[in-house]
Every structure is written in C-alpha cells, then in structure tokens.
C-alpha cells in the first residue's frame, strides 16, 4: 500500500519477535478502548500516482499564476527570475530529505551551506552576524522587535509607521497583545515617508521598525531615523529588500541594528505565500539575543576545519522557557536556495538585477502617463514598486479586467485601508483609496510592460471619472 514496506509475511515474523498476536493487541494494551476511534477516517479514497497526478494537474490548471499571466504583483513577494541551477541543487535528496544537523559529522553539507548563507547575509546587510533563517519576513520583523524588547529591558514602546507592510504590523500586534509592550504606529507624510516617527521617539522606546523601500515603494531616510533612535537609546530595525542592495546602501552602513527581510525574492518560488525565508542579521553585540539556529566554524578532533550549530544556549531545546524564541524547524531549504542564488548573481549580477528593476519600473510608470484614468501616486524614484490611482474609482473592476486579459496588474489597496488588529492600526492611510500597488521586476520584458499598460488603458469604465 502506497509507501509501506511490510508484506504480510514480514508482519507475521515481526509480531512473533515482539511476542504479540496482532497489531491490535499492541495498540489495545496502550490506548484505552474508550478513546479508540471506532470508524474509518472519512477521507477521499486512496488514489494511485497516475490518477492523482492527473487530478492535481487539473486543480493546478485552475489557478492563474506567473506562468499563465504576466505578473505585476508585489507587496512582499515577487516574480523574479530563478536560475535553473537553483532548482537542480535544491532538489537533491541529500538536501531536502535531511533534517537539522544534530549530528555534525554527517551534516557538514548543510552546516557549511548555513555558514555560507550567514556570511552572504552579513555581506548583503553590512551587519556582523546572521542566523540560519526564520519563518518569513513578517514573523522575522516581530522576532526582531521581541529581540529589541529583550535587550532593552524597561523600555516598552515599539514605534513603527503606517507604510510598513500591513501584514507585518498585524503579526506584531498579535504577538505583542499578550506581553507588556506598546505598539505606536505613526502616520507617514503625504509622500509616503516615515520621517515623522523621529518625533515619536522617547526614552521609553525600545526600537523603531521601518521598511525601506517601504510598502508603497517609498524610500526612507534610514540614516536619519537610526541616528535619532540611537540618540534616545533605541534600536533601529529595518525591513529591507535584498534585491535592492545592488544599488541601495546596506542597512549596517546606515546605522541599523537589526535588519530583517523576506528572502523569497532570492530564488524561492511564489508558492502562494510560503514556504518563504525570514532573513535576520544584527550587530555583533546582539548575537546572544538572536533567535534561531546559528552555524559556526570550529575544528574537529584532528584539527580539521568544520562547522557546527553553535550558541545553542539561546535555543528552546536547551533553555526551554528562557529561550530567545520558540523556533525549532526553520526554513533551511529556502536558505539553501538563497545561497545558491546569490552565488550565481555575485556582486555584478546583483547590481544588474537592481538596475534592471529600477529601469523597468521607471519605464512602466512612463507607459501609463498618457492614460487619463490613471495617476502615478508615488513621486520620486522607485526601486521596483509604485502606487497608481484609478481616477475612475474602480480598482477592483480594472484589475479584474486585466486578469481576464492575462495580466495580474497590481494589488488593490482598498481592502487594506483603515484596518486595526488588537487595537493597533495595521492598515494603510486613507491617501491610498482607489489605488493599486504595482511591482516590476527584472523579469518583465518590454513587451509585457507595454501589454500591461495597454490592458489597463482598454479597461471599460463603469463609474465616471
């Protein structure tokens, strides 16, 4: 049956060795009759591989995706190109069917990759130390805040802005609800920047959490914010876009203490939101409060260089309720993919990628200038994301039209306006009513960008301008 090995003969011989008459006898001896399940589980009947492949191919075919449609969706997950070598390496059984390197001697492959990943993250961020991964960008942001709260004992305020990813703020609000901490969400200015949060800083502030480029594509003055935070003794946490760093300054070079990111863009498939990759790096001094696994270099009993999991006294399996986090299984396979991806890019490939995003985004903005119905809301330069307003006030229909013409044209921002979670503002400001968010990666060809603009321009208008 499916993947089972034992034949009836095997089972008979095994029972004999055990000294039991039947498997039921073994179970009955342990599981009280009263709690045993009396019927068969009501699941769809078993299917063989051939049927299942056909059936699931059918289900898969009913989903629009970045293959069937041209994808301009972003908001934290992006359709960047994934080189074939990434897939080939990550599909090796030695990687994907192994587990946490509890036995270093037979896990040097995974451990060395973790060490390389950590080094690449420090090179990317300009910070001293990286962990081996967290679940995703959103939960990493919250872990960073918890880390800051733990290192800044006595300070309870967490200051952030309304153009930080709404979902990241929702997570923060959920986690902070049950612990002693106050979440302060300041309003961004009309250009979608968060300079105003400098005024909200005080000596009760444990940390500020900013995103750069932020959710609406705005570029923050990170250096100024981190300087101000430092001045009041608070830590600065930046959510960054790894693929912006071919051009933008590195978090560590702008005074950031903890940098976190969604690492999906580094060679990981969109996969409807997961599994993704939570990246976290921090200044050297903060390492003892860093959550998650860390691989470090050491030598073996014959003096050979090798790698081990280290600083484990931070972790749940040693420290239990005193651990820096509860994380156990993490996102190693995604970190492997990011490691391969970055190895393939190198500094020049990374710069090219950022530059292509910038150039294509600028071109995309230009293609819709002439469309009366649309207005580019984001002023100033864009990395790969910007906001467009539908003057007709009919974003949902506009995007539906595009979808039906093979284009995933943007993310409707209306549902994100004015939301609250556990009492904190986790929505976007009213300024983005009737708007949608557009992402243009290096993968979008000129023809696709023009198709996007054309499709938007041809959408029928139901409401008046």
């Amino acid at each position: 049956m499916a993947y089972l090995f034992h034949t009836d003969d095997d089972r008979r011989e095994m029972l004999q060795s055990i000294g039991a008459a039947s498997i039921d006898e073994i179970i009955d001896a342990q599981v009280p009759q009263s709690v045993q399940f009396q019927r068969q589980l009501d699941l769809p009947p078993a299917m063989n591989e051939m049927e299942l492949t056909a059936e699931l191919t059918r289900l898969a075919a009913r989903n629009a995706n970045a293959n069937t449609h041209v994808c301009f969706l972003g908001g934290g997950a992006y359709d960047h190109f994934i080189p074939a070598a990434v897939d080939e390496i990550a599909s090796r059984g030695e990687y994907y069917t192994s587990y946490t390197p509890y036995q270093a001697e037979v896990s040097q492959g995974n451990l060395q990759v973790m060490f390389e990943y950590e080094t690449l993250v420090t090179q990317l961020t300009g910070l001293g130390v990286s962990n081996a991964s967290l679940y995703d960008g959103g939960s990493a942001a919250t872990e960073a805040v918890l880390m800051a709260l733990a290192t800044q004992r006595g300070r309870m305020r967490v200051v952030t802005s309304d153009v930080v990813h709404p979902q990241y703020r929702e997570i923060l609000a959920s986690y902070l609800r049950n612990i002693d901490a106050e979440l302060v969400v300041i309003a961004s200015d009309e250009n979608g920047r968060s300079g105003g949060l400098i005024d909200a800083l005080d000596d009760k502030t444990a940390c500020v959490l900013i995103q750069h480029p932020n959710f609406v594509g705005g570029l923050e003055d990170v250096a100024a914010i981190s300087a101000a935070a430092k001045a009041v003794g608070a830590l600065t946490i930046q959510s960054f876009d790894p693929l912006s760093l071919g051009r933008l300054r590195r978090p560590g070079d702008m005074g950031v203490d903890i940098a976190i990111a969604e690492g999906q863009c580094l060679g990981n498939p969109l996969a409807f939101g997961g599994p993704y990759l939570g990246i976290m790096a921090c200044r050297d001094e903060l390492v003892r409060r860093l959550p998650g696994r860390i691989a470090g270099q050491t030598t073996d009993r014959r003096g050979k260089r090798c790698w081990v999991l280290t600083l484990q006294t931070r972790e749940q399996h040693i420290r239990r309720d005193k651990a820096t986090s509860n994380i156990c299984s993490n996102q190693t396979l995604l970190a492997l993919r990011a490691t391969v991806y970055l190895s393939l890019l190198g500094p020049h490939g990374l710069r090219e990628t950022t530059d292509h995003c910038i150039a294509k985004t600028a071109y995309a903005k230009q293609t819709i200038i002439a469309i009366e119905r649309l207005e580019v809301v984001s002023d100033g330069p864009s990395l790969k994301e910007f906001v467009v307003r539908d003057r007709a006030g009919d974003v949902a229909d506009l995007l539906e039209h595009a979808r039906n013409h093979g284009v995933l044209a943007g993310i409707d921002l209306n549902p994100l306006l004015g939301r609250y979670t556990e009492g904190s503002f986790t929505g976007l400001p009213e300024r983005y009513r009737d708007c949608f968010l557009v992402a243009v990666t290096e993968k979008r060809s000129r023809a696709e960008i023009e198709q996007w603009a054309r499709t938007l321009s041809q959408a029928p208008q139901t409401a008046a301008c």
Partner: protein
Amino acid sequence: MRNQQSTQLLFELSRPGRRAHRLGRLDVPTIEALDDFGDELLAADPPPLPELAEGDVVRHFVGLSTLNMSVDTHFYPLGSCTMKYNPKRNERIASLPGFADVHPMQDPSHLQGLLELLYDLQGMFAEISGLPGVSLQPAAGAHGELTALLVAAAYFRSIGSDRKVVLTADSAHGTNPASAQMAGFETKTVKSNSDGLVDLDDLAAKLDENTAVFMLTNPNTLGLFDRQIEQMNQMVHDAGALIYLDGANMNAILGITRPGDFGADLMHYNPHKTFSGPHGGGGPGAGPICVRDFLAKFLPAPIVTRHQTETDDGQTKWVYGLSEPTADSIGRVRSFFGNTGVLVRAYIYLRTYGGDGLRRVSEDAVLSANYLLSKVKHFLDVPHGDRCMHEFVASASRLKKDKKMSAMDLAKRILDYGFHAPTVYFPLVVEEAVMVEPTETESKQTLDAFAEALFRITDEAGDFVHDAPHTTRISRPDDVGAARRPILRWTDSSSNDAAS
C-alpha cells in the same frame, strides 16, 4: 575520491571578475532613473559577494550535499522527527506552475483549484483530529503551538478570565515552554511518573484557577500513549483549563484515536513529519492547528471558505474564498497564507493513502517500533517496558557505567555503520536517552541490520567507540570552542585556519 575543492568555501573559490548569472542589455529605453535617487541612498559598490562561474556553483553545492546523511540515502531513525520516506510525486506535483508560481496576493476568483485543495485539506485535518476549527497559517510545529496559545489567551480574555499559567510536561519538547513564554504565559512543569506517564498527583497539585492550558504530548516523547488520558481530561477541564495536544507524534495514532475524542481542545500537526513533507535540512515545515468549535472564531485569518452558487445553466457549484479576520481573531502570525508548498504535499500524501491507508501507516509505524524494541531490549535498557507506540527510548546509562560508552558515543559510532543516529539526550527524563523512531517506510531487513549494528557496537572497545565516527570526513567537532570563540561568518582571516 572526494573532490578536495568541494569543502572550500564559496568565498575561497571566488575570483574577481568571474560571472555566472547575467542580464546584460536592457530591452526598455534607458531612462536616467538612477539619477533621481540621490547619493545618500546609493552605495558606491554592490555588496562584496563572491564571484563564481555557474560550473563552480553547481559543483560546490552538489559536492557539499554528499556530506549529508538524508532519508534518500540512509536509514534515519531520529526519534521525535518521523523521518519517513518523502514521496517523489509530492515534489513533482507541488512544483506545477499552478501551485508553485501563484502569487499570494492574487484574487480568489482565479485560484479556485488551489483553494478547493486547501479547503479540502482543512476538512481532512479536522477529520483526523476530531477538532473542527482549522488554521493552515502557522509555519512549523512550534509556530502552531504559539498560535494555539494565542488563541487560548484570546479565549480566556473573551470570557473575562486572566489565567496566566501553562503547564508543560517534563518530558515535553523544548518548544512547549518556549511557546508558552512567547505567548505571554508563565510556565510550570508537571513531572512524569516512573511509568513515563504524567504524574497525576503532580498534575493535580499544579492545576488551579490560574491554569490556562495543559500542554500534553500523547503519545508522549517516550513513545508511550498515556492511558490515564480520560482522568487527565476530566481533571484539566474540571479546573476550567484547556488541553493542548502537541501533535508531533500523530504518526502513531492516525485513525486509531483522535485528539478531539480523547480530550484535546487545541493541537498542531507537523505535516513535515506525519504527512511526509520533507524536512529540508531543517525546514520548511508547517504547523496547521485544529481547535474545538468554540475556539474557532479566535483563529487567525484567512481561512479558506466556500459557498454554493448557481451557474448559468442552473447547476450548483462551489465557489471558494478567503475569510476576512473576525473581530475576535487574534490577527496574523505570519505574512500571507501559510506554507502552502508544504500543505500541498500533505494533501497529496493524504489522497495517496485515504482513510483506510492512514490507519495502516500508524499500524506499521507502531509495529516497526515494537519490533526494533524487541531486538534492542536484549542489549540496551529500555526503562519504560517492552511495548511502545511509534518510537521508544532506550538508555545507555548502564553501558556508560560499565564501559564508559555514552549515548553520544553510540550515536557517533552508528554513523560508521551507515545509519543516521537516533535522537540522544532527549527526552530529558531518561538518562543517556537513545530515542529511536524507525517509521513505517523502512524494511524489516533495514531494521534487522540496524539492530545488529547497535548490538555490535555495544560489544566494541569503549575507547574506539569514543573516538567514533571513523569513516566521516570530520569527527567530533569542538563544540565548546565554537561557542567560546564564535566564528559566525567567513572573513579573510577566518579562512587562514582552513586546514581542510
């Protein structure tokens, strides 16, 4: 025959000017977009990543992979981790563009296939657990624990209670107390009795009106099903607290008994264990949770929903959607929907076995563990009797006394025989613990060979075993040194002691 270059670091292989991935010429008109950025935003140079050719990269990572043991290459009886066979069809199907290339912000109208799958998966998880409320959002088991505890906290808040204590078993996994602490609870530990089960007296002593949740692992980490379950159920609920079931050991009881039926109010699954999602060298996993009806409204959003509509030709059909958070919802615990890729694999697994098959999975897992136990008990102590569920915990403490051979030594030496080691030193309640979980996807031949190897080791010279492994590239790394003088990233200088 090992390629000596394969253990060099990427950074050591790097050569200025070498390239792999390139984009080259832009196909859009060049707009001087960079000029708008202003110097304060821009870095002069890109980050100092290594510079490699595609052939470098491939050979490097393929070479490194061969230094790992894995389920695809070795028997991997790592207790508590359920290292079962990872079906290749799961990988193939989950990578279809209709699953792998779906953006998380797409509109449900064009995702009906995936949402149908996820909706059905919610239903299957509910059926297997006997708990109707399901959230697929958490990213791993520990994350599921945390999420469920946030749900419990919201529930108690909703009834005006401020219970602040979570009870965890001393045999529990470290994530249990760690999750409780993260969710804002205090933790107290309940002892195990000499049978390895929950000490009911201790439980009674610690249960009070401040107890919010009792976190139970059943079968527990000793591989034992706690037959006092009904009493515990009574005691905890009488005290007004909830029972959380750590579902890491579900592989023992699929279709045999259901958490919801034996008293659990909330639980998580580890699909990367029970439902064959691969472990990925440490992750990703997923940690879907199931809860009783009255707790469902506190679950994070979105949940997959469906409603019936009539098509143009008068037929009814289901339309699938994603729920908005309810007013009572705890909010989110991560961005986007969840670890969809892992969930799709779990779905394929469940469809492969069906209801009848799933029970046979657990039966064979239990049979294999008991069989191995029946062999191992002849040369290793197994403190908690000679029956178990899907795993058992032996102890090397007599061996340690007699021959100075520790659980660690056993674990290291078994690697030489071509087997991954069992989990050692967990659970904490057994001295020199050796925790063996064979799973149902190993042959009797393999189990025999493993038992034979373990037996031979117990007969070997202590010193020899203490120096093991002898056949791996490296042996007994200096953990203490690693923690004392941490080298956590490559630098030009860290590579100087590269004596490999």
